[in-house]
Symmetry: C2
Subunit: 679 residues, 2 copies
């Protein structure tokens, strides 16, 4: 009589007794251990690799003999010879249990592995994409028991993988018969799973065992820029990223001007829809080319965007979003075909998923920020500002979350700024101004050196210094305020008043020259009075939105602030607070989340359960409508001063002392030097 052997899997700790001769994969499946397999245990895919442990395991109470697993078999030897099996690894479908054993499932062999999505916060994404590959062997057709090839494929998928209710689009159906015959009745299929209903869709089919991987697109469709990541759906890794300008800019810089365009020009919404869909298709093709992968292997796309972009992408006239009550045509997440929203360059059966919208002014991008930053799980009161042409603002904790959007305009993205440009090599992204000499130094994208460090010129020789990007203009204005070149009302002082020749007259106002490359045929990069005004409008809108949410929660202070946005990773918390973009808060509690909306899109792409989660959470997020709230205007006006006309900013005061200057000479030409107290 042979006794069953004890098998313990780590890291799960799941254990059970199995008859000797049971394959490790079989034991894992029976215990519900998360061990991957694409080929169903046929020794083809090598995804079920495990690391057996030998010797004494006091913690588990077992001692593992050297012969606890069967000896290497021919399949393992062939695999090792052809591709190399890592030291100590076995194929779970080949190695059989011969005695008590402890078996570790390495991370890459877990289906639902967790992948770290960013080092700073060490949060992780659980891999559980909607579309996965399955290898199956299909029963051959039998004239006497006739059934279609699709039905026999479905039967195999159900028996081996538990996949039920399989639909096949016509395009895939036309390729099924040749693939089955080429693969000698074995195929690898990509199957998409609905997270609402027990429904699956066949996305593609390849003869035999398909070595390739599946990819998905996470797209952050902003009013000004479209940023996309191409992700490996096996491990969540970003294999290429790209961004383009939103071509709708030619119809209007901001959202409301595009809504107006649609209202004023019959068919204008259709023009804008066509423009953005074309851009989406090109962007996808570019990402596939960059990563050197066949576009057919891109089988999914997740899109996040604000409500106006959402409607225009879907081909819905955004006119209702331009007037109260700002009714969305649809607020739930939108499932569809990727090809329908312009992604015609990827797999023709690829699915698209657009996150739910929270309200008529608070879109899927805000939902994505929530998914990424999880304010609804926060123990303390967190303010999350996703800064773009429109700012998405969330405030709350695990008891309650509020959201609003605020029309900041494109200034924070470098648009409407005299020397503004998008974040690209050559753009000034960091600025420091010496408070004593009033001399600036800066860093440009593409160089690690400050402009006053030796060798700087060489590092920018190719790109030149071309303009200021969004984070650069924020630092420049804040530094000017710290250095006493700009007063609380936002006026730039004259050379006389400030004591630096860099302050030059420009019409009836002044500008501060940050860089003069004219001698070498380059540009002269200044911060003009108009630039300051644009930044003031943008930051006032952002602050007023945040303040409105604080009013609604009846709080005067937040515990922490998360700054997000396409350039969120680059915003300096100190400078943001000097500008008064955000309410006062301990500086070490202000963090950057990078492109949180894009991260949210990536989470929804990699983890099906996240989609269900955010679809539920958005219903619990309470929306505040800035456009009709009278206090918004009040907050907006008070926030025009730098940092603020009335709010005290005590935390900021502990770190920076802002000079008490005033350049107001009554006619707007900052010439005087009258002191007055900050409120």
């Amino acid at each position: 009589m042979t006794e069953d052997a004890l098998v313990i899997f780590t890291p799960s700790g799941k254990r059970g007794r199995f008859a000797k001769g049971t394959p490790v994969l079989t034991a894992a499946r029976q215990l519900g251990v998360d061990l991957d397999s694409v080929c169903g245990g046929r020794g083809i895919c090598s995804k079920c690799q495990v690391s057996p442990g030998y010797g004494s395991f006091p913690k588990h109470g077992v001692t593992v003999a050297d012969d606890a697993l069967s000896e290497w078999n021919a399949v393992e030897a062939r695999y090792d010879e052809k591709r190399g099996l890592k030291e100590g690894r076995r194929l779970g479908c080949q190695a059989t249990i011969q005695g008590d054993v402890v078996i570790d499932v390495p991370r890459e062999s877990q289906v639902h592995k967790q992948v770290v999505r960013k080092a700073a916060t060490a949060r992780s994404i659980t891999m559980d994409p909607a579309t996965r590959l399955f290898y199956v062997e299909v029963r051959e057709p039998d004239m006497h028991e006739p059934s279609g090839d699709l039905q026999r494929l479905a039967e195999a998928l159900k028996a081996e993988w538990g996949i039920e209710a399989l639909d096949a689009p016509l395009d895939v159906l036309t390729r099924l018969q040749p693939a089955l015959r080429e693969g000698k009745w074995a195929v690898t299929v990509a199957v998409w799973k609905d997270h609402h209903a027990p429904r699956h869709v066949l996305i593609d089919v390849w003869p035999g065992y398909f070595e390739g991987r599946l990819y998905g697109l996470a797209i952050d469709l902003g009013s000004t820029t479209v940023a996309a990541h191409l992700c490996d759906l096996r491990n969540g890794e970003v294999v290429s990223s790209a961004g383009v300008m939103n071509p709708q800019i030619r119809f209007g810089e901001d959202l409301m001007s595009r809504v107006s365009y649609a209202m004023m020009n019959p068919g204008g919404d259709k023009e804008m829809t066509a423009a953005i869909r074309a851009a989406m298709g090109e962007l996808a093709a570019e990402l596939a080319a960059d990563a050197d992968i066949p576009a057919r292997q891109i089988v999914e796309a997740v899109v996040v965007c604000n409500p106006v972009m959402h409607h225009l992408l879907l081909g819905i006239d955004p006119v209702e979003l331009g007037q109260a009550p700002f009714a969305l045509a649809t607020s739930d997440a939108v499932h569809g075909m990727a090809a329908e929203i312009g992604l015609t360059t990827i797999n023709p059966a690829a699915k698209s998923y657009i996150l739910p919208c929270i309200a008529g002014h608070v879109g899927a991008d805000c939902a994505a920020v929530a998914l990424s930053e999880e304010p609804y799980k926060s123990e303390d009161l967190v303010l999350i500002c996703d800064v773009g042409t429109n700012a998405e603002i969330l405030l709350g904790d695990k008891t309650r979350v509020l959201a609003c959007s605020s029309p900041t305009g494109p200034a924070f993205e470098g648009a409407q700024i005299s020397s503004g440009q998008r974040a690209a090599p050559g753009a000034i992204e960091r600025v420091e101004i010496d408070p004593a000499t009033k001399e600036p130094r800066f860093k440009v994208i593409g160089s690690d050196l400050w402009s006053d460090e030796p060798g700087f010129d060489a590092t920018v020789a190719t790109t030149g210094v071309t303009g200021i990007c969004g984070s650069g203009i924020i630092e420049a204005v804040a530094e000017m305020r710290i250095a006493g070149l700009v007063d609380p009302s936002g006026l730039i002082g004259s050379a006389e008043a400030t004591g630096t020749q860099r302050c030059v007259p420009e019409g009836r106002t002044h500008a501060y020259v940050l860089y003069d490359g004219t001698a070498e045929g380059g540009p002269r990069i200044s911060v003009t009075q108009g630039d300051i005004r644009a930044i003031q409008l943008a930051k006032s809108a952002l602050y007023a939105g945040a303040r409105l949410l604080m009013d609604a929660l009846e709080v005067d202070k937040v515990d922490r602030v998360v700054l997000a946005g396409a350039f969120g990773a680059h915003i300096s918390p100190k400078h943001a607070m000097v500008l008064g973009m955000i309410p006062d808060c301990a500086l070490d509690r202000v963090t950057s989340a990078g492109n949180a909306a894009g991260t949210g899109a990536r989470i929804a792409l990699c983890d099906l359960s996240a989609r269900g989660r955010i679809e539920e959470e958005v219903h619990r997020i309470h929306k505040v409508e800035t456009a009709i709230e009278p206090r918004f205007q009040e907050h907006f006006v008070a926030a025009n001063a730098i940092p603020h006309a009335t709010a005290p900013f005590p935390e900021l005061g502990q770190v920076v002392t802002l000079p008490d200057v005033s350049f107001n000479v009554g006619d707007g030409e900052g010439g005087g030097r009258r002191r007055r107290r900050r409120g």
Copy 2:
């Protein structure tokens, strides 16, 4: 204290007690009485009309007082004034119960009304179409409780009509917002219901209450002709019908020649797919124009066809159907978008449904014949022959049903016949030949008179006599056999041998002149030796298929025969049996079913439950593969004689005595007159 009133509905007999003041519609809904309503009881649609009965009803044990229902109200009065309410009718949503009452629900007020589909057999279709109209009033958007217009529509549809899991295609979504506003938050929507899953799809939306009706297409896609009916989805009525030639004929007359074309010509399958899809679209547009209805109101299409047509319509290369084991790409019913199969001229969101296939050679057309004729419910053994370019044959009863297909070729449809033409005005459809004088008389489509009756010439003055259609050629050949002009081997005798100058030499053989219009510039219409041979090949294939099924069931006789086909209604049972198309059977047990495949399509169009029914039944139908069965060839050869070389045909013998002629003179020129015994 007021006592609840007793309410009895007829014809259902459902009864219950209700508080006085309860609307009749409410009572009906609570009792599950099948009373229609599109507007949900708002007095708009008038679909809930009922006929209250007054006086004594001993059968039900009640006496109904004159005031058992409330008096006419303003809504009923307005409706009566505008459109007229039939005598004795009330609107179920307006009339309230005031005392014991008996209420009849007239047929047209039943949602799932039964409609008689043909007078002969008095079978009925239960109306339960997949797509129906619903009127709903939708909650207005509220900025403070933001949710999309689609979500509020779905909420209303769920609350009022129990419709769950609603999807909306993008195209419909783009029209939702304007429709809701134009209709002042009331819309009529067309909603499609999945019969497999709790899933609904929004097909279209109209502002306010939509007066129009929904229509569907039932399409019988044959190898030679495409026949389509446009049906009213409210009552199943056919509002227009049309047929066109299958444009694929230019790629090959029969199925196998089209499969060969696809095999020999790369891209040939795509050409054939494009051709048939274009024809489908044109046919649908023509039907809508004929019936003078907006094509947008055609919201569904059901297609039946043989497997090769099935694959070519879906864009699947039919190559596998040309060789054993004749594997179908898919055998289950195919759900899809009508636009995908060429129906781009109807509602863009219209759904298509193709019935399941039984096997590689036994298609959705055969399933449709089964759905129409229901052999699986038959008490006696029934043989069903659906005659077309390919014949679909079913044999069985409620215990077991077998099916096969047989390649009859297009002769029965008038193709490959010297004077053949499709069934259209001017075509000879009936033939009689006097056995004594050997003189023919005939009827042509478009005239009710025989050709020897007074006034015939006037009735065909416009059309002329142009050729012979399928049923005409069958009768002509059978009559020639009865009149002794054709011998059992199929040879036509000479004028000398037959004693009529209508038998004229044609090369080395003879032809029988049925009509000579050459004097008036018309055609000369003959039945040639080649025509007889074509009919012999066709009828042998049909008989051999039927016989093979009888072998499989181990029977020598069937209880009854149903002849179906595009011209099935016009086939004379006697002539079919003289030809030996079908096995011997009592003549009064041979009936015509008309286009049973087309009827099956119409049933599946009108009744969702029929789809589920046939999807189950096809799995129980046992398929016999004629193409590889050695006995098929044997049966085919024996069936070449008219009526048969060896089978006795005793039932036929009781009605007709076939002359024992032989025109074989050893060289094929039917000149002799040698008698021999029929086998």
